[in-house]
Amino acid sequence: MTAAQTSAGPGAAVLADVPRFAPHMRLSFDKARSRWVVLGPERLFVPDEIAAEILRRCDGTTSVAAIVDALAADYDAAHGEIAGDVVALIGELRERGVLVS
């Protein structure tokens, strides 16, 4: 489905993708437990801190490349490393039906 599943590095096509949540999935802040959660029918994922940072930016207008740029700036980290994480996570969540693009 995406380059993330077939190669380790992000391909240009993936970086140009604009991920958004599938219509029945939603990222939500769980005030009672002070954490982000992904809500869907009969399921609930609790993303870790980095995953939550990525998912908060999956708004249907921001490209994968722009998400990588933003995170690299925020975390003062190497572009390549961040890009690998972002592409892997987005690929996995697409396969699980959480994200579409």
Binding site: D30, V37, L39, L44
Partner: protein
């Protein structure tokens, strides 16, 4: 029955059983045998308050179920309120009465997901289970309305002896109707399903075949269709973690406003249920005796008490333990460590091997007996009991 000392973590989901009214009369309906009459249902204002209190307590998802939730005219307003409170909203429906206009109203209200139930892939099978003529055509129209409104849909396929051969057809139907998810769930034997068990129980060979078809379909449609699968407890080796543990994840509010730890909890004698008309959701969750009765592990006897799975499955289902052993605090007989396990498997094997016609005369449609006494005028409107033949 010792109450936990610290306050329990808040529940994740509310099952809002807004009505027991339903145009269908499924022989496996999990509603209680004593159905709540329309006149006994909570008012809209009560539901609005319940939804707000649920969100306040930390509940994240609300499942509107029933009965047929669409039987309530105020359902779009309840959904809109839940959405405003930030709750994830899911509608569990038979699809009867869901036309394009209503689909749009539900989507506009903020509904996020619909679970549409199908009793069979063949029209006659659907009618036979649901006691309603032409139901499959209604469901197809409902699926179209759901798709046209842009709502995401899961198809709920309920599996029993009479339709276990049609797993591939259910998968094709799910794809044709535009579902992203298919739930293949064997009948669970509560409520009307328990009294009709002999008519519904699959054979062990059917169960194996269904499991194999589900595996094959999962592989074949990976990425296009997510398939969730629930096996019947009677042939299991370990119990399921019923409701994710008693008083841990779910609160059910029934049409009359009773707050229940699971939808079959009213079958357990001596449990006292508070009503949302009298007590808040938070108070009920923390202090209601019914929620504390089987919360945690302190109530357990052996073999659960010393078992290393006790915090994984929480001893299984209390209502099933009661139904099959007479003791709600016993280990769920679905567990191989229960002294009643063998008897449970033997019962299933015996019932499943009976020729279908022999049991058919005993089938009881939901709502067709053990009704609350009704005034004589109303009682003449429907036959007391109907039987089903040719199954």
């Amino acid at each position: 029955m010792i109450a936990p000392s610290s306050s329990p973590p808040p529940p994740l989901a509310l099952l809002a059983e807004v009505t027991h009214r339903c145009p269908m009369r499924c022989v496996y309906c999990s509603n209680p045998l004593e159905l709540v009459a329309a006149s006994g249902e909570l008012e809209e204002a009560d539901w609005l308050r319940v939804l707000s209190e649920a969100a306040e307590l930390g509940i994240l998802q609300v499942h509107f179920s029933g009965g047929e939730p669409l039987a309530r005219q105020d359902l779009p307003r309840l959904i809109a309120h839940a959405a405003r409170e930030g709750l994830y909203t899911n509608l569990i429906t038979s699809g009867i009465g869901l036309d394009a206009a209503l689909g749009c109203r539900l989507a506009d209200a903020g509904l996020e997901h619909v679970q549409l139930s199908v009793q069979d892939t063949e029209a006659t099978g659907v009618d036979r289970i649901g006691g309603f003529q032409g139901a499959l055509a209604h469901k197809r129209r409902a699926a179209d309305a759901i798709a046209a409104a842009g709502l995401a849909m899961t198809l709920n396929a309920v599996i029993h002896r009479g339709n276990a051969e049609r797993i591939d057809a259910f998968v094709s139907l799910a794809l044709a109707l535009g579902a992203r998810r298919l739930e293949v769930a064997h009948v669970q034997y509560y409520g009307w399903g328990l009294i009709n068990r002999a008519w519904l129980m699959p054979t062990i060979d059917q169960l194996r075949a269904v499991s194999a078809r589900v595996e094959a379909a999962r592989a074949q449609h990976k990425g296009a269709l997510v398939i969730d699968y629930v096996i019947p407890d009677y042939y299991a080796r370990l119990p399921k973690s019923c409701m994710g543990g008693w008083g841990r994840r779910f609160m059910v509010v029934d049409p009359a406003g009773r707050a229940l730890p699971c939808h079959a909890a009213t079958t357990i004698p001596d449990l006292h249920f508070t009503n949302v008309r009298d007590a808040s959701i938070a108070e009920t969750w923390e202090h209601a005796p019914a929620f504390n009765a089987f919360r945690g592990t302190a109530w357990m006897a052996e073999p659960c008490r010393s078992c290393d799975r006790r915090e994984l499955d929480w001893g299984g289902c209390r209502c099933q333990a009661l139904a099959l052993t007479g003791d709600a605090a016993a280990t769920d007989p679905a567990c191989h460590k229960s002294p009643h396990h063998r008897a449970m498997v033997e019962l299933a094997t015996r019932e499943a091997s009976a020729p279908p016609a022999a049991a058919a005369g005993d089938v009881t449609y939901r709502g067709s007996r053990r009704r609350r006494p009704r005034p004589p005028a109303a009682a003449t409107s429907r036959k007391a009991e109907e039987t089903c033949s040719g199954f």
